[in-house]
């Protein structure tokens, strides 16, 4: 009940602030970049509010709980991505003065078709990034209220679609700054309270070789055929198939190994070992060590380095982040904004990791039942036991989670609507509104189909495609006078295209995830980013006669500092 109230509060607050700003949103430039009047600190909080999505609020803790320290590269990469953005493109991009990546591509390289091609990648990245937000909303509402998966998805679609269509970006700037504060305080308070409650509690450290055991009486739905290995007799309640026989109620299991079929619901008493998948371990050895093989996770070193490349170089290519950048008045404030962003991110990312570690210790059954993406929301009751304090913490986390879904989705939807209405069509506020509504509906429809993918993995794919397509375009566009439109297009198609195909193959489950091909497709950035760069440079060299005449002048505009007489 408290959780539902918290979600309602966040949803209503977001809508009201968005709605209040409606009357100020009159021109197209108001809609897209808030007319460039946002102060650096507010802007930094808004960037963080927009950036910190379901991926880090829910998904990161879940992945840390499953895979271990290799997943800590995600937050490090997400933060280092801003350093790369700052070093390579921030101030010049702002000084160039375009609203979006497609507009930059056209303005810099003088090619309308390139703009449309870039807009296609904006759509691809934004929609792919919207899907995990939808999944997060769906599973959160289900975990909290038992509502079907689609209810949460529909809720986020309606609120975000409505907000963006009515208020545009000026609406969401204030909302998103507020949402950063909500997210940070929810995670920090929850993590500190639960960590304090568990210090001194008996039981093994999560950083040990001990196999996980249930902390309280726990009911699990087995999602793959499993084996339960017990050294003493165990009284369980089960509905399903154990050792090939149908079980419907209480059963006393003798010491030894017992096969449990997929789909069985089983209640284990406190202190019981957990069932292990037949085709791979779930818990126990080497979870806490870097670069280890995990369940369905071979080639950990390649995967680790590829994640680093995707996150560090992908941040600059995220359409909603780059757009947010133009709300700075000039290049110098753009840089300063990023420094604040990096500090705010560092403050935030420690908490999901703490929650993931707590989840490993207190909710290990989720490893078996497959609900690790919801661990953050389920943890308070596991740690504190049923009671008011657990319900209050869950409510706080639920509010924070919805703040995450709403803020990131708003930013992405602004990018989607902007790309459709301004880059693919002729522009105008009405088209922007229609595009926002259609985009929200499309993301919701696709969001219904992604429940089986881990949230943060989906987010990582959006980064990989952004790194392979827009990173070469932006970096070369900012620094290389001999860059051509044909080079940029071949970089987008070859780098971004192959990365997209690899992700699509992985989503379709075509390559065996244990094989090398599976690993290369699961995290394409390590090969697709170099490929995109080579294609961009090679294409430009081959078409060097088509270097835009005004390229040196445009570089001059991008790299000339603003006059100092400003404040």
């Amino acid at each position: 009940m408290i959780s539902v109230l918290a979600i309602a509060l966040v949803v209503i607050a977001s809508s009201v602030v968005g709605g209040l700003s409606m009357r100020y949103s009159r021109t197209t430039s108001d809609f897209l970049v808030a007319s460039r009047t946002v102060s650096p600190r507010l802007n930094a909080a808004a960037i963080c509010g927009e950036y910190l999505s379901a991926g880090t609020f829910l998904g990161l803790a879940g992945l840390v709980m499953v895979v271990g320290p290799d997943m800590l590269w995600y937050p490090v990469g997400y933060t280092a991505g801003y350093v790369a953005l700052l070093l390579l493109v921030a101030a010049p991009l702002r000084r160039f003065g375009s609203y979006t990546i497609p507009e930059f591509a056209q303005g810099r390289l003088d090619s309308p078709p390139l703009r449309r091609l870039a807009a296609v990648f904006v759509l691809l990245i934004s929609v792919l990034y919207l899907l995990p937000q939808m999944k997060g909303a769906g599973i959160s509402l289900r975990a909290l209220t038992g509502a079907p998966y689609w209810v949460g998805v529909a809720l986020v679609c309606l609120v975000v679609g409505g907000n963006v269509a009515i208020g545009g970006m000026r609406g969401v700037t204030a909302v998103q700054a507020m949402q950063y504060v909500i997210k940070l305080s929810a995670l920090a308070i929850a993590a500190i309270v639960m960590w304090a409650a568990t210090t001194g509690a008996d039981g093994a450290s999560p950083f040990s070789d001990q196999p996980s055991k249930t902390v309280r009486e726990t009911t699990i739905t087995i999602r793959r055929d499993s084996v339960l290995d017990i050294d003493r007799a165990l009284r369980v309640t089960a509905f399903g198939v154990i050792d090939g026989a149908t079980v419907d109620g209480v059963r006393l299991l003798s010491p030894g190994k017992h096969g449990i079929d997929v789909g069985t619901r089983i209640s284990l008493p406190a202190g019981s070992p957990l069932p292990q998948f037949v085709d791979g371990f779930v818990s126990g050895e080497s979870w806490f060590l870097p670069f280890q093989n995990g369940p369905r996770r071979s080639h950990p070193v390649y995967l680790g380095f590829s994640v680093i490349i995707a996150t560090v170089l992908g941040t600059m290519g995220l359409p909603h982040i780059v757009t947010r950048f133009y709300t700075n008045p000039d290049g110098r404030t753009a840089r300063r904004t990023i420094v604040v962003v990096i500090a705010l991110l560092g403050l935030y990312y420690i908490w999901p990791v703490v929650l993931g570690v707590l989840g490993r210790r207190w909710a290990p059954d989720l490893l078996v039942s497959g609900g690790t993406d919801a661990v953050v929301l389920l943890l308070p009751e596991r740690v504190l036991g049923p009671g008011l304090s657990a319900r209050l913490l869950t409510g706080l986390l639920a509010g924070g989670a919805f703040a995450a879904f709403l803020s990131t989705s708003s930013g992405l939807l602004v990018s989607v609507a902007g790309a459709v209405s301004h880059d693919l069509l002729k522009g105008g506020v009405r088209r922007f509104r229609v595009a926002a509504a259609v985009g929200a509906a499309l993301a919701g429809a696709l969001g219904l189909g992604v429940e089986r993918f881990e949230i943060n993995v989906l987010v990582g794919w959006a980064f990989a495609i952004a790194a392979s397509s827009f990173c070469p375009l932006l970096v070369l566009g900012v620094w290389w006078p001999k860059f051509t439109a044909a080079g940029a297009a071949s970089g987008l198609i070859i780098g971004g295209g192959t990365a997209s195909v690899a992700v699509a193959l992985t989503m379709a489950n075509i390559p065996d995830p244990e094989s090398w091909l599976g690993a290369l497709c699961a995290q394409p950035a390590a090969w697709s980013v170099p490929l995109g760069c080579i294609a961009s440079i090679g294409g430009s060299v081959l078409t060097r006669r088509t270097v835009p005449m005004n390229a040196p002048a445009l570089l001059a505009r991008m790299h000339t500092p603003e006059p100092t007489q400003r404040q």
Binding site: R95, R115, G346
Partner: protein, 112 residues
């Protein structure tokens, strides 16, 4: 491209370059372009070196995974906590460097 956008001060300060073809760039500008590129490249290589260094350390020093500090393995401290101040400091120092560079450029070009 829609030109309804209000031009920011920085753009107004520049002549609208699009109509001008390829003008001869002043020497002072070429100098700052190169200086900024070298600065960015150097810091980016430093950033890459830092990240790759941490990754290689975790890969080749297994003690970082098994040795604990206050009950938490050192690898977790490094990635979960330690990297962030380094990244923040890197960003802060770079901004100071590049702003100093730009001030020097402006002091050369803005003098009447």
């Amino acid at each position: 491209m829609t030109q309804s956008s209000p031009k920011s001060r920085s753009q107004v300060a520049n002549i609208d370059t699009r109509q001008q073809g390829a003008p001869q760039l002043p020497l002072a500008f070429l100098t700052i372009l190169r200086a900024q590129f070298r600065l960015s490249l150097r810091w980016f290589l430093g950033l890459s070196g830092f990240i790759v260094g941490v990754a290689l350390a975790l890969l080749f020093v297994p003690q970082l995974g098994t040795q604990s500090l206050f009950g938490v393995p050192i690898a977790w401290w490094m990635l979960g906590v330690g990297c962030f101040p380094v990244l923040g400091l890197c960003a802060h120092r770079y901004v100071r460097r590049v702003e100093r560079l730009e001030r020097r450029y402006l002091s050369l070009t803005e003098r009447p």
